[in-house]
Symmetry: C2
Subunit: 342 residues, 2 copies
């Protein structure tokens, strides 16, 4: 059973995945999967190779765990956290731990092994986003989950172990440290100025203009002023919105902004490996009181990070980053890439 262990100095939680229990020989370099569609557990006809599906969009009315689906969600076969565990917290000597209770799901974005996010039609991509929203909504009903993280790893350098297009979701029993920092930063800004910091950033970026990558009626993407990585991009709803999963009204605009942004990135950098992460509010309950205030000060967004540079000792030691490409230059390259806007 995985364990959550807390670093006593900085309070960082670590998932120690005892089930995997890797030995020294397991760390020898191994090639990435791609055996291709024939052996891929996410392709049509191989539905039995994944744990039974949680849900799927099946326009043809086909039975669960058979072909015919458009988007399919399954439990991760090698979960980082286990949903069957009971959440218990205890001390171990001077340290703190809890059982690794949580959920780890995989959203298979398309039956097509070779079509990435940027290749999907706006309808298909809207379906993927809607599926992510639905899964968050469903998991939010379990109040033991404090946070639902949705993210995408593309390519082996970005941590992907399968190449078939997929998004991942992890539900955790604690609000992660980095999320807390963001919530606290936004709250503190709001207290001083009674304005959402992300709304202010959007305003500033639209005034400045140089860092913008793409904009439509409801969404904007830009290279942030303090980009950690070359070609880092943030994508936000222009209207103030707390939760990604409640953003239903302009799903097609969301899909378009994401697709165009990813297309530009793919063309400018020759299909780079990347991670993107949906930053959304934690799982809140009116009884916690906090729910009232966070409505105004937090603003969901997606952070896209191409994996072009290596994170080395300096970054690990300090928590700050060396970015060799100014965001103004990165945005310029991306602006110069023209893509057909569906």
């Amino acid at each position: 059973m995985p364990e959550l262990r807390k670093d006593p100095v900085v309070g960082r939680w670590v998932i120690v995945s005892t089930a995997r229990g890797k030995r020294p020989s397991d760390f020898l370099p191994s090639p990435v999967d791609d055996a291709g569609p024939q052996k891929c557990p996410f392709c049509y006809g191989h539905e039995h190779m994944t744990p039974p599906e949680i849900t799927a969009y099946r326009p043809d009315g086909s039975r669960p765990n058979t072909p015919g689906w458009k988007v399919r969600t399954v439990p991760n076969k090698y979960p980082a956290l286990g949903i069957d565990d009971i959440l218990t917290k205890r001390g171990v000597g001077i340290y703190d731990m809890m059982t690794g209770f949580g959920a780890h799901e995989v959203i298979i974005e398309t039956p097509d092994h070779y079509r990435g996010i940027k290749d999907l039609t706006l309808e298909e991509l809207s379906d993927v986003l809607r599926m992510c929203q639905g899964r968050i909504q469903d998991l939010h009903r379990d109040i033991r989950f404090r946070y639902i993280l949705v993210f995408r790893n593309e390519g082996p350098l970005a941590g992907a172990s399968l190449s078939h297009p997929h998004t991942q979701l992890v539900a955790t029993p604690i609000t992660p440290k980095r999320v807390k920092e963001e919530l606290m930063g936004a709250e503190s800004y709001f207290k001083q100025r009674e304005r959402c910091i992300f709304c202010d950033i959007i305003h500033e970026e639209r005034e400045e203009g140089r860092r913008i990558v793409f904009e439509n009626d409801h969404f904007i993407s830009f290279c942030p002023f303090a980009s950690r990585f070359p070609f880092e991009i943030w994508l936000l709803p222009k209207r103030h919105e707390l939760d990604f999963h409640a953003s239903h009204d302009n799903l097609r605009d969301m899909a378009q902004a994401l697709k165009v942004t990813m297309q530009k990135l793919a063309i400018a950098l020759n299909n780079p490996q990347y991670n993107y992460i949906i930053h959304s509010a934690p799982n809140l309950f009116p009884r916690r009181g906090y729910w009232q205030t966070i409505q105004d000060d937090y603003h969901w967004h997606i952070e896209i990070m191409p994996r072009l540079t290596k994170v080395a000792g300096f970054e690990w030691g300090t928590g700050f980053y060396i970015n060799p490409t100014p965001p103004e230059d990165a945005a310029k390259y991306l602006q110069e890439v023209t893509v057909a806007i569906a």
Copy 2:
């Protein structure tokens, strides 16, 4: 000139290195150097290929920038921060920035292209550590430097661009976020208990025993309870000490603990790539008042992180880590490796 830019939400500083100004084509995968000693700027006879040396140990009395040295410190040819810049802070729209004032040095550990840290004699390794201490002491005299980070990148996955054994040093005009978190965690623990948290951790680890990697009279290394990475190791002086650079009395024990620990790691994991980082106190001045209190609550140490797993979207998004090897298992493998203790 590099710029330091501050993320307005979480307060993270980023070094935007405009001088490097990398374009999309610069990110195409490139092989690591190793052209071997013939073209290596850190080998004997190639002293003119680096900027002029800052200092060197030259037992043979040879002239600066000629062969004969044992350990040699030079400015980084491609510095992340520049020592010639004047430190100025200003606002840019709603954002904050400052000029990238700082220092970036390279400590060439040995003239031998092929002898890593673990292959040096105790005398040679003591010299390397003494050189690091001397450089910190020297840079501490400039009160514009708030923090001096000493770290080592081994292998291309760990961010090394040259294979000749070397350590790096970066002096920054701000105390980095991750260092602050550690200082604050230690301070808060001390306030509650009037004990150093690191001293308590050492006591706990010696009681428990299972996570210890190596121990001599004055130093101990172990796999920490909440290890972020498989085979992560911390190395600490057993006696309470604030500053790495002031730790002179038992340098041979320090070198022995580091050498044996790195040898065990090299044998167990077949020469893994890794980063290690010296965590020491910031550059403090009695007039700041803080100096009195930190003496008791902070404790310098080295964090060693083999690069065996990929950091993916989940880790970036949450700031917590999935570690597939429990530290108890990692320590057991390392305990089973026997090395000759000089």
